[in-house]
Symmetry: C2
Subunit: 301 residues, 2 copies
């Protein structure tokens, strides 16, 4: 299936504490940010689970944005996953104040039959075992991007690495990359992860940009210098949405991957400029392309 | 005078504590690192002061590398400036353990007559007043790069800004830029410094790269991902040497500035790969160009 992506991950109700105030019950979750970002480039299919408390308005909004929700299951008698997080100072680091896993705790995603030939997929951050079960259901994976986090790397480093080898594309932040590789210098950590057999490594460095590395080439990209950081939640998933969405539309190549990082960066920069998913909801493709052009101008030699 | 640069700054005997050991009495100082870097691209003239204890071997080494020392004054009865610094962990931050200003304390640089028509100059980190006295002596300034540090920004923020306006080019690290602008986000800090009237701002972000900004354009460049960080001392001055040396050889333009940042980055990356100035002393232009090509390949779209 061409120009289709599937995003498997959490759907959440977030409470966000920032220097500008506290905001309760915002729509969030990795598959939601991913989908609202990737929709700029491709047809998006969301796979996740919510409880009976999930507002119908959120579901309608996602559908209005063209996101297919056949894979969004409502668990009878269950409550939606909730995350409460805080950003302070320069808002670079999210501090988790509370987590209620609820229906996410037992989530074992089942892809609708019509999603299984899609080649471009996000395996949102969850246990390597669950990610493995999802990967198994994909019959023709082309670019499967696996997210993870410090919790899983500490718990089961080898499982994360094994899973990343199978998925093909691992997407981590700076600290997670050092932790996974057991190195202090990023370049050495990247070498190590590639030597361990991961084919493509994408490292997210927040305001310091991102990079993609394979055995064949490295590409480093600075961040878009946004002036407005309102809420960093979902920046990484929005980045992944831009990368996967663009690749699904343009095809996989080294040049395509470089360009995909541009679009990932742009989508991440928009995501942080609004509270929750607000900015991504209203965003027009023309704005995306204008900012991509601006970023390309800013990094071209 | 074409293809000439002048580097005004400290000449030091450094003691460096790194995780790999303690090394005493290494040749150092901003004008020394600058000169050993800039010599790859242009004829270099060093202006500084030392005491009678300054080893003749250091002087000879610099001359062997083609660096003109007419501006290096030996103060009778004086002792050379000494700095003792420590790097720990990932070695990103230098902790000053001891400073003996000695002859540097009263240093008021006088440029030899034949240096005064040189257009490309480094005003190494020192008081804005001393920098102003040096700038006054330049009859045809084209690209005068002024360094500074948190000490001067705290002491006399307005003097630093006024001096930067006169010099035209201000070169600071990330934290210094935020401090000078009184902002928390780098992009806003850059806007503010340019709005204050500084024509060209270069921000050094160590392993996160660098940027150059004017009212007309911004250019952002990631760092070269060196695997060997032996001694970060002098990285910023080596960066400045690459920038100024390249511009002196290629002329000033937006495209030239972009390329100059490439060469600055490459020279900074070599500087940290050896103890003190050791790597810069042995470095060949072919190695510089090879690494510049590698970095350009890594950032091209």
């Amino acid at each position: 299936v061409a120009q289709q992506v599937v995003g498997v991950g959490s759907v959440a109700l977030d409470s966000i504490h920032t220097p500008f105030g506290v905001h309760e019950n915002l729509l969030g979750g990795s598959s939601v940010y991913f989908s609202l970002s990737a929709r700029q480039f491709a047809n998006v299919n969301l796979v996740g689970v919510v409880g009976e408390d999930f507002p119908a308005a959120h579901r309608q909004m996602l559908q209005t944005k063209g996101i297919d929700l056949k894979g969004l299951r409502t668990q009878a008698g269950g409550k939606t996953f909730r995350w409460t997080g805080q950003y302070e100072g320069t808002m670079n680091v999210a501090k988790t104040l509370a987590v209620e896993l609820n229906v996410l705790g037992e989530f074992n995603p089942v892809l609708p039959e019509e999603y299984r030939d899609i080649g471009f997929a996000l395996l949102g951050n969850c246990s390597p075992k669950v990610q493995w079960n999802v990967l198994h259901q994909l019959r023709a994976p082309q670019f499967v991007l696996m997210d993870s986090m410090n919790f899983w790397i500490e718990q089961s480093r080898q499982d994360v690495l094994d899973m990343a080898k199978r998925a093909g594309v691992l997407c981590l932040n700076y600290e997670e990359t050092l932790m996974l590789a057991g190195k202090k210098i990023l370049s050495r950590a990247v070498d190590e992860v590639l030597n361990q057999g991961v084919k493509t490594l994408i490292v997210k460095k927040a305001e310091h940009g991102s990079m993609v590395a394979t055995k064949e080439f490295w590409f480093q990209l600075p961040a878009y210098p946004t002036r407005e950081v309102i809420d960093p939640t979902g920046a990484g998933d929005s980045f992944a949405g831009g990368v996967l969405g663009y690749l699904a539309s343009a095809g996989i190549s080294p040049a395509g991957l470089r360009k995909a990082l541009i679009y990932g960066t742009v989508m991440g920069s928009f995501a942080v400029e609004g509270l929750g998913t607000s900015k991504l909801q209203e965003l027009q493709r023309a704005q995306v392309d204008a900012r991509a052009a601006e970023l390309m101008e800013m990094v071209k030699l």
